[in-house]
């Protein structure tokens, strides 16, 4: 147990210290959302309608783009070798790293989403709905992304490859995330229906993604 705590603390420390890149996701999110009204034009009704979708697309890209260094840094400095020589199974290592990564990059997205929603003229009621769906859905994006991060661990410039690889897995999460938000705003389906499916995706990815990522890491180490 102490090993889990120790790994989590190390990962969050590394992310939060200088050069760790914890806030890069939030900054990227801000850029995407900030330029959107300029591109769409000053049509408040249109912005209100597509606001939740923009927030979700921004959060999805911000989550996936930050993932490429998740294992690469440990691979380059030899830490990954040692992480495979422990009592703790590699899948648990992956899961702990993913949780720490979500806390330092995904959680800030959830927190700033309502603020950025104001820039898109999203309804005050809908702001909370967007945050709730992001809270439920972004962990799934992070965990699915670990598979891509593990596959590209040995590729130096694999950064953009991660979103491309896991996009097919991320699309259902996006559909149900935006679907749940729209259901909260306009109906007619109650919000809980798509939200439950989204929660299902998250739980599924929490269980399966670490196993898949650990397997591809072992292949990459050979």
């Amino acid at each position: 147990m102490s090993a889990v705590v120790s790994l989590f603390r190390r990962e969050t420390r590394l992310a939060l210290r200088v050069g760790g890149g914890a806030m890069m996701g939030a900054v990227f999110f801000l850029i995407v959302v900030a330029i959107m009204p300029f591109a769409v034009g000053p049509d408040l009704n249109l912005l209100q309608r597509i606001g939740p979708a923009i927030l979700w697309v921004g959060a999805l890209l911000a989550t996936l783009i930050g993932l490429d260094r998740l294992f690469q840094a440990d691979h380059e400095d030899g830490s990954l070798d040692l992480l495979t020589m422990m009592e703790m199974p590699l899948a648990v290592v992956v899961a702990v790293k993913a949780v720490a990564h979500w806390v330092t990059t995904g959680l800030p997205l959830v927190v700033v989403a309502p603020l950025l929603g104001l820039m898109l003229n999203v309804d005050p009621d809908a702001l909370l709905a967007v945050s709730l769906t992001l809270l439920v859905g972004t962990p799934a994006l992070t965990f699915v992304g670990t598979i891509g991060a593990a596959l590209t661990v040995a590729l130096r410039r694999g950064g953009l490859l991660v979103p491309v690889l896991v996009l097919p897995l991320a699309v259902p999460i996006l559909i149900f995330g935006v679907g749940a938000t729209n259901a909260a705003i306009t109906g007619p389906v109650p919000m809980s229906t798509p939200l439950t499916v989204l929660a299902g995706f998250t739980l599924l990815s929490l269980v399966l993604a670490p196993v898949a990522a650990a397997a591809s890491l072992r292949l990459a180490l050979e």
Partner: protein
């Protein structure tokens, strides 16, 4: 305790690095791997650590802990030092002590840093360490977590004479405590060692 390898072979990147390598090391013994560059010394150590798959042969740790993979009873100190520049020296070592430590009488983090001669640097970020100091911090891992099998790949690289003397003392203490070690180095070790000559015939 006895580590025994028989008929080991290793293929990396489609090249047969070595084949039919056998060795046996008992508690309190050192096996020094010698051979020209590219002979497969590092590959053999990584193979024993479970980091490279063996294509043939068998590997056993007799009288080791039951049902525990060899990798989990083994320390591997390779060319990469597994240090994070953003963390302090103490944080780096404490992390690996927590991660690699099984039960057992390991030295505390402070004692381990003291033993390799970088005790006063505990609160500095690892980014400011020199190459030799980084190597010392890597070696401190051996003490901070207790494991019976040590695999050291060119451990003297970048170490000054004081550092080398400290390293040899660590190995001596480890052997006296019933441990065993495989060391790949071109340096003559001031210890009674068995030598495994690699390269030449297998290339």
């Amino acid at each position: 305790m006895k580590l025994r390898g028989d008929g080991l072979a290793c293929v990396r990147g489609g090249r047969q690095v070595f084949e039919d390598i056998g060795f046996a090391v008992s508690s309190g013994e050192v096996l020094q791997l010698r051979g020209p560059n590219g002979a497969g010394k590092s590959s053999l150590l990584r193979l024993v650590a479970g980091l490279v798959r063996r294509t043939a042969g068998s590997l056993d740790l007799e009288a080791g802990e039951e049902d525990v993979p060899i990798a989990e009873q083994t320390h591997y100190v390779g060319h990469l030092d597994a240090l994070k520049p953003a963390l302090t020296v103490g944080e780096n070592l404490r992390f690996w002590a927590d991660m690699l430590g099984r039960s057992g009488d390991a030295a505390s983090v402070d004692e381990a840093l003291e033993a390799v001669g970088i005790g006063p640097l505990a609160d500095f970020p690892a980014a400011v360490l020199s190459a030799g100091q980084r190597r010392r911090l890597s070696l401190a891992r051996l003490l901070a977590a207790a494991r019976p099998v040590w695999l050291l790949d060119e451990p003297t690289t970048a170490l000054d004479t004081d550092g080398q003397a400290r390293l040899f003392r660590l190995v001596e203490t480890h052997l006296a405590g019933g441990g065993l070690a495989l060391i790949a180095t071109h340096v003559d070790l001031p210890l009674p060692v068995a030598t495994l000559a690699m390269g030449g015939a297998t290339r």
